[in-house]
Amino acid sequence: MLAFGIVLVALVLIWEGYKLLGAATGGTWPFTDIEMRPRPGNNSMPHVWDVVASLFAPARRGGEPLILTLAIATLYTLREALVGFLVGALVGFSIGVFFVRSLAAERSLMPWVVASQTIPIIAIAPMVVIWGRRLDVPGWLAVAIIAAYLTFFPVAINTVRGLRSPEATATELFHSYAASSWQRLWKLQVPSALPYIFTALKISAAASVVGAIVGELPAGFADGLGRALLQFNQVFSADPAKLYAAVLMSAIGGLVFVGAVTLVEHLSLPARMREAAA
């Protein structure tokens, strides 16, 4: 936590130092006439305190403070991300188990799973939203499905790898006990795979937040972070601090999510196995 604070202070100092340097030279690198990019002026890089201040100022004249609007939007988006994350993790884990139990399934289906991830999310998202509407699926659920689309892949890949991680003698040992293949799965392979799966879940937790934000755009939600980011993007040149404030909030949302997964990992895995996974 202390280390995090030190880095935070350092980043603020670098940001403000860069701005100070720009102010002193008039926007060029010292002793040259090369322009500094990004421009250190307040239009591209508002002061840190301006960003923080904008969080506590009303978003509209006489309205609630921006931080409240953003917090509600973040919670809304995190709910979609959470549902998508859980669905994606379950699907990814099941695919992993299926592939490890059937080499034929892995050979024939793995290329499709990989191909699915090369399609940009912005191409998939509108389709899912439109199909969802036709099938009367609630909008937030369609967005959750988009988040799940980003979540399942790392979990599937790492589950496959983790389930194959027990050493040969451990497998022989279970064979010598005449253990059934389900006993071997639950008592040897899944526990061995947990460090791998948790690594994937942390990647997926962050990805599911991105998926939910991107998914909200074609859905046209007014309630989520996606809309807020889009809206503040449009007023960036006039009021850059607001966009930075929204970016800050979505980053905090992602951090909380990944932090929650890390907490579950700490509670369920002995320290020794966590180190092995890193």
Partner: protein, 258 residues
């Protein structure tokens, strides 16, 4: 015929991409209940493969094999043997106690019975105080003791050991050998023990089987007539050294003094 292991003309070949490897050829060996038999030979002589055939972890390519009076497959299903490898292969998310209980758990033994059996085994290998430790908190020798206790869980009539002390230092190794002797006498189980240490084979065994490589064959069988129980005095007796020489000569392909 009540041999616990009976092999008749057993062979094992591994089909490679370009060539076939004859890992074992025409192995005939009978082991009586209560024996302690060591398999010794150069690397590649197939001694570990032979152990895996007995345990039905590999299928033989030809010949006959019965274990505890049954087909090897049935003997494995019935839990007629316990096995220990060079690596202790403990499950690191389980405590020592729960590692020992694993085979009992898989066989569906009720919890109360599992616990009391684990208590007995923990006491037998002297690890009662460490029952709640995790494997990584134990030394190599202690981990191997857990592995042996685990292998004895279902009181198997046969114990298969694949270089179980191969990774231990010399001091630990000798004390583990003494302990194994104690366990062997106490349980009366038959042991088939793979090693490439001549003193280890001679000290532990009632019979040493000498093998040669490519193809793996049995070349000599040497009865070890050292007195029981084996202790330090045995290790330092002239007969012990004579037998070491016999095994060494046999490994070199010469006929021993016997």
């Amino acid at each position: 015929m009540d041999f616990i292991v009976d092999m008749q003309g057993l062979s094992k070949t591994f089909a490679g991409r370009s060539s076939t490897v004859h890992a074992l050829q025409d192995i005939s060996l009978q082991i009586e209940p209560g024996e302690f038999v060591s398999l010794i030979g150069p690397s590649g002589c197939g001694k570990s493969t032979l152990l895996r055939l007995i345990g039905d972890l590999l299928p033989p390519s030809g010949g006959g094999l019965s274990v505890n009076g049954k087909e090897a497959h049935q003997a494995r299903i019935d839990g007629d043997y316990g096995i220990a490898f060079q690596k202790a292969t403990l499950l690191e998310w389980r405590t020592v106690r729960r590692n020992i209980e694993l085979p009992l758990e898989l066989a569906g033994v009720p919890e109360a019975e599992r616990r009391s059996r684990a208590n007995d085994l923990l006491q037998m290998v002297g690890l009662t105080e460490f029952s709640d430790h995790h494997p990584w908190q134990l030394s190599g020798g202690m981990q191997q003791r857990v592995a042996i206790a685990r292998a004895l869980g279902q009181r198997p009539p046969l114990l298969l050991m694949d270089e179980p002390f191969g990774a231990l230092d010399e001091m630990t190794r000798e004390s583990m050998q003494n302990e194994l002797m104690g366990i062997w006498r106490e349980t009366g189980t038959t042991v088939v023990f793979v090693t490439h240490s001549i003193p280890e084979a001679v000290f532990l065994s009632t019979r040493v089987i000498v093998m040669s490589a490519r193809p793996g064959r049995i070349t000599h069988q040497i009865a070890i007539d050292l007195p029981q129980p084996r202790d330090l005095a045995v290790r330092e007796s002239p007969r012990f050294f004579e037998l070491l020489t016999d095994v060494r000569e046999a490994l070199r392909g010469r006929t021993g003094t016997r």
